[in-house]
């Protein structure tokens, strides 16, 4: 029947039918790839292959000065951090990233992490472990227990299971630990339920901070049967064209206990006219303990003043003082300091823990290390407008300095640590013939996506392109397995 119909058709009609069918199939295939109706797709890029039919989904590494594309057949990451974006034709809920790489890194860069951008204002990436050589080493040397996706490492075997360890940890009573939990336990990619208490806490003078700070900041406050009141005076500098919304949140653990936000109508973009705003947070019925305050603003805004009702206030990981009012003294609990001057006028010799360190170039990050074993180390700046960063906290007086977070197995962690326990959420990468393969899972539900692209980062803390050391990370392949809702779930749910 069909055969007789086909034979009756003239040649031109048959030809057009075949070409039309091919066209139709091609369009359907591309629409299928756009919709991804089953909610699952894999994109990959093999850097050993130079020929590609299209642009691909995994786009190039940036910034260009941190990638060496010439000296090897594959890209060599020579600076930190490196960004790349992944184009997806639709949104997804989860991503599993597999990276095949060759590690030519020096001993002082033991960590490789990968992350996805979750906040474009704070420029925060949700970082996950790829490789941690300190942990790899201690996993061989110490007693190791794996349970519920976590690893418990013990210098001396005191516990037979992680649940036994957790019971003692929650009671604040770990075996062989007389010096406080924060001196006995280090963590990596894991935040245990930890009720931090300052021993012999006495209410002091409330902190009024009139040291302007530029951009987003986070800080800890500690309260013990005191009211919490925070007043912020902020200034929109209007030096750029973007709107400058304000969002301030107070967290207890991961839970938001109070928040305030202020939208910006952006009536004077780029005018340079300073607009002041005031926000007050006054949450009630807060339990004693540590609270984290997140001030989410753009770099075009300055926190001019913070009036708090509390005496303990420590900034987390970063401060950017911009008073332009001469010398400034801060305190930190960390042994190292990263300094970046964004203004040639801010180049100077910084005094950190009694030692002088020179900041000689703008826009270059300088790392300073101190071996001083005291809890609060002074940072004396002759001029401000420098970004100070480390893995600890900063405060404007040693009395208000406190750090409730447990030590992390980070770049500066020593395997000769005094801590007797480590709890980590970590999978060692597979190693074969010099190549390493690591798999990292990301939750994309809260990830930031712009113009169809998710932004990813590969971070090797301490890796610098301008230190004349031939260390790098060669990337051979990146594969991203994406999972999301199916078309039917999108339609019916």
């Amino acid at each position: 029947m069909l055969k007789s119909i086909w034979e009756k058709w003239p040649f031109l009609f048959k030809l057009r039918f075949i070409l039309g069918l091919i066209l139709f199939i091609i369009i359907i295939v591309f629409l299928y790839l756009k919709v991804v109706p089953f909610g699952h797709i894999i994109y990959e890029r093999d850097y050993t292959k130079s020929l590609r039919s299209g642009k691909g989904f995994i786009l190039g590494f940036t910034p260009a000065e941190r990638v060496d594309l010439k000296s090897a057949e594959v890209p060599r990451l020579i600076g930190d951090p490196i960004y790349f974006s992944v184009f997806t034709p639709r949104t997804f809920d989860k991503a599993k990233m597999t990276i095949v790489y060759r590690d030519n890194l020096a001993l002082d860069t033991p960590i490789v992490e990968a992350g996805v951008l979750v906040d474009n204002i704070l420029w925060r990436y949700d970082l996950k472990p790829v490789d941690n050589k300190a942990l790899d080493y201690l996993m061989m040397k110490w007693n190791k227990i794996e349970e519920a996706g976590l690893i418990l490492l013990q210098k001396e075997k005191n516990y037979n299971s992680l649940s036994d360890f957790n019971k003692d940890f929650e009671a604040g009573n770990l075996k062989d630990c007389a010096s406080g939990l924060e001196n006995c336990l280090a963590v990596y990619n894991y935040s245990p339920n930890y009720n931090y208490q300052i021993s012999n806490y006495k209410t002091g003078q409330p902190i009024v901070l009139e040291k302007p700070l530029r951009g987003a900041h986070q800080f800890y406050v500690y309260l013990n049967n005191e009211p919490l009141r925070l007043e912020f005076i902020l200034a929109d500098l209007n030096q750029d064209l973007k709107a400058a919304p304000i969002e301030i949140k107070i967290y207890s653990g991961d839970k938001v206990v109070a928040s305030e936000s202020l939208a910006d109508e952006n009536l004077k973009p780029g005018s340079g006219e300073v607009e002041e705003r005031k926000i007050v947070l006054n949450p009630t019925n807060l339990k004693p303990g540590v609270y984290k305050v997140e001030v989410k603003i753009t770099d075009d805004m300055v926190i001019k003043k913070i009036v708090s009702s509390l005496s303990r206030l420590s900034f987390i990981n970063k401060v950017w003082p911009v008073s332009n009012a001469g010398p400034l003294t801060l305190y930190t609990d960390s042994n190292y300091l990263q300094v970046k001057a964004l203004n040639p006028a801010s180049l100077q010799t910084i005094n950190f823990a009694g030692l002088g360190f020179k900041v000689t170039e703008p826009y270059r990050q300088f790392d300073f290390k101190s071996d001083l074993l005291i809890k609060s180390k002074a940072i004396i700046l002759k001029k401000d407008d420098v970004i100070l960063e480390n893995n600890g906290v900063f405060a404007w007086s040693p009395e208000s300095l406190f750090n409730p977070s447990l030590p992390k197995v980070d770049r500066y962690f020593s395997v000769k640590t005094d801590a007797g326990y480590i709890v980590a959420n970590y999978n060692k990468p597979l190693s074969e013939e010099g190549f390493k393969t690591a798999t990292v899972d990301f939750d994309l539900k809260g990830a930031y996506r712009e113009k169809g692209k998710y932004s990813f980062m590969i971070s090797v803390p301490g890796l610098k392109s301008d230190d004349n050391i031939d260390d790098n990370l060669e990337i051979y392949q990146i594969k991203i397995e994406l999972n999301g809702r199916t078309l039917w779930q999108k339609i019916w749910q």
């Binding site: 070409l19 034709p89 113009k451």
Partner: protein, 63 residues
């Protein structure tokens, strides 16, 4: 046979040109959905080749 070949060349030119137009429209609606997989320059080159070939070897007109 030569007549059929000329028709095939002409029709393939029409088809590839139509496909190119559809790809451009799809790409304008949903950026990158074609270019991520396929460089449109290849299709454009193919279209030009078939277009030129159909000029060199025109198919006979139907009465």
């Amino acid at each position: 046979m030569a007549k059929n070949l000329a028709v095939i060349i002409r029709e393939t030119f029409y088809g590839s040109f139509l496909l190119f137009l559809l790809f451009v429209i799809l790409e304008s609606i949903w950026p990158n959905i074609i270019l991520a997989y396929f460089n449109l320059n290849y299709l454009l080159l193919l279209t030009i080749i078939f277009g030129l070939a159909s000029l060199i070897k025109p198919a006979p007109r139907r009465n």
